[in-house]
């Protein structure tokens, strides 16, 4: 507010670029310094039959013989021009590999995020309004239990019940072979992974909304609002929700990369072809170029969303503006 808007924008952009740059160096360094041979990713088992000379030639062909800073500069130059190199494992342009899969992840994670985003306040308000009543206690109980179930085990459980025992839903993939265009088939494949994503996250956020609402409800302004002749419900929606909204929005901004990028466990269990499985494979098999792009993608998302969360809580919440703003919220891992 002291500085002009353009200056602030410039500063934020600068910070962002710097963060992404440092992130790329970090990811680059980490992936190359980790032991393991990327040649395996490219040639598979054949590497073992190659002579040392052949291996050296292969390395030179892939540009892996240069010293590290040189490799980074070369990668960076390419990246600026939109060339991210080829995937060793898939032997095609990294962009193509990702383009084929990103839609699936966006569909799963995006839909999951949207559902959590929409359902959490509803559930939170529902519970807050019935604070300490039997319904609220029951929901809290169930919620605590669901939040204690690891995602991968929940996936297994659902698979066991709905795919193996009941046979209602398909167990893996994003679509059945030969039915790529069928919407119903897509949906059937999406139900179980989506259920895991939503169930795994919903309660955490709903509980946050509930608790924050209960804090708001204890504030003095509620009495004044009721003195105006408002009903309790009106006060809850019009006054208390307003106090919760900024922190909810910044919480959800932090949740976006978490949900979108955190789908890899679910993707692995359901063999769902998305970015998550790609990240997993590329990290395990030293598929450097692919790893770089995937990591940068998720990392950039994290940086962007952290920024969004900070801006939201500083800009929207009048209380933060009064205090000068601390506390960026919490990010959960895995």
């Amino acid at each position: 507010m002291k500085k002009g808007y353009p200056v602030k924008l410039l500063k934020e952009t600068l910070k962002f670029t710097l963060s992404v740059l440092v992130l790329s160096v970090l990811v680059f360094g980490m992936s190359r310094l980790a032991p393991g041979d990327p040649l395996y990713a490219y040639y598979g088992e054949r590497v073992e039959k190659m002579s040392v000379v052949e291996q050296e030639q292969a390395r030179a062909r892939l540009g892996l013989d240069e010293p590290l800073p040189g490799q980074y500069v070369r990668w960076f130059r390419g990246a600026v021009h939109g060339d991210f190199g080829i995937s060793y494992q898939y032997k095609t342009d990294v962009k193509e590999v990702i383009a084929a899969r990103i839609g699936n992840t966006l569909l799963l994670g995006g839909l999951g995020f949207f559902l959590v985003f929409a359902l959490a306040p509803l559930l939170g308000i529902f519970c807050a309004w019935r604070e300490d009543k039997a319904v609220d206690r029951l929901i809290c109980r169930i919620g605590t239990v669901t939040s204690c179930i690891p995602e991968f085990w929940l996936s297994l459980l659902l698979l066991l019940v709905f795919a193996v025992w009941l046979g209602w839903l398909p167990s893996s993939g994003a679509y059945s072979v030969g039915k790529e265009g069928s919407l119903a088939d897509r949906a059937a494949h999406l139900i179980l992974p989506l259920a895991v994503v939503v169930l795994g996250h919903l309660w955490y956020y709903a509980f946050q909304v509930r608790n924050r609402l209960l804090e708001e409800v204890r504030a003095d302004y509620v009495l004044l609002a009721r003195m105006k002749g408002m009903s309790g419900r009106q006060v809850l929606y019009r006054h208390c929700m307003r106090g919760v909204l900024p922190s909810y929005l910044s919480m959800m901004a932090l949740a976006l990369p978490h949900i979108l990028g955190g789908t890899y466990v679910v993707e692995t269990v359901f063999s769902y072809p998305g970015i998550g499985t790609l990240a997993y494979e590329s990290a395990r098999y030293q598929d450097y170029n692919l790893l770089m792009v995937v990591s940068l993608f998720t990392g950039t998302l994290v940086i962007l969303c952290n920024m969004a969360a900070r801006i939201v809580s500083e800009r929207i919440d009048p209380r933060m503006r009064a205090r000068g703003g601390v506390d960026g919220g919490e990010v959960r891992r895995l």
């Binding site: 302004y221 009495l223 609002a225 009721r226 003195m227 002749g229 006054h239 909204l245």
Partner: protein
């Protein structure tokens, strides 16, 4: 007929660790246009009295005995919905700390407009806004046009309390409860606010229940004084005779 009559009111708080009586057989009545000061030390039940008449007490508070009459009609058993009609039209209140009584996330203008809208739902947007500005001027907030957009944290304590009073006045109440309305303020601001109360009473003809622990405030503004101790209202009388008898040393 008395505007408000309280008969034999007893209120208890039921906590898991036991029941505690907060009000014991309190009786008093309030006449039209008068200022009644309720005095007593901290924790003697002044606020509970005010909140139990308004039915703003939490669930754990239970009315054991007693009746409350508004213009002769008993409201003791009123549901929350029925009370909503009384609150914000017949009753209104100003609370102690203006900084917490105002919603920190809403501009003061919005909060006053809201009160106006609830009182006069038929008004158009422009009329509401105009009424809000009138109210702000009435309570002594300068430049109302600029102030409507301000948030509570941008105001001083006195200014914020004026906003709370504007909200209370938007209800055009017949009975205004001022629950330690001036305690949190500077002495000079305190005097200004009290004067404002008296002036408004004259202009709008409302009765005021002034809850305070400051005898000076009571002597200055009240017509009658009620004294409370340990949940009991043990004396009530005209301000002159009470102060002549030297009650001030008794309560402070």
């Amino acid at each position: 007929m008395d505007l408000l009559q309280v008969k034999d009111l007893s209120v208890s708080f039921c906590r898991p660790e036991g029941e505690k009586e907060a009000l014991k057989n309190v009786s008093f009545s309030l006449r039209k246009g008068e200022v009644l000061a309720v005095m007593g030390e901290a924790g003697c039940g002044k606020s509970v009295l005010c909140k139990s008449i308004l039915k703003l007490l939490p669930d754990i508070a239970v009315v054991r005995t007693g009746h409350i009459y508004v213009k002769g009609e008993e409201i003791t058993g009123y549901s929350d919905k029925q009370m909503q009609k009384l609150r914000g039209s017949f009753f209104s209140a100003v609370f102690q700390n203006p900084m917490t009584a105002l919603n920190p996330c809403m501009s003061v203008g919005e909060q006053i407009v809201e009160a106006v809208r609830l009182r006069h739902p038929q008004l158009s947007r422009g009329e509401r806004r105009q009424k809000t500005e009138e109210l702000m001027e009435l309570v002594g907030l300068d430049h109302p046009k600029e102030r409507v957009g301000q948030y509570p944290f941008q105001l001083s304590g006195g200014m914020a309390q004026r906003c709370v009073i504007a909200i209370a006045l938007a209800a055009e109440p017949e009975v205004l409860f001022a629950d330690e309305a001036t305690t949190a303020l500077d002495v000079t601001v305190q005097a200004q606010i009290l004067e404002l109360f008296l002036e408004l009473r004259k202009r709008m003809g409302m009765s005021i229940v002034l809850i305070t622990h400051n005898p000076g405030v009571a002597a200055q503004t009240a017509n009658r004084v009620a004294l409370m101790r340990g949940g009991e209202l043990y004396r009530i009388g005209d301000v002159e005779e009470m102060f002549e008898e030297g009650i001030s040393c008794e309560i402070t």
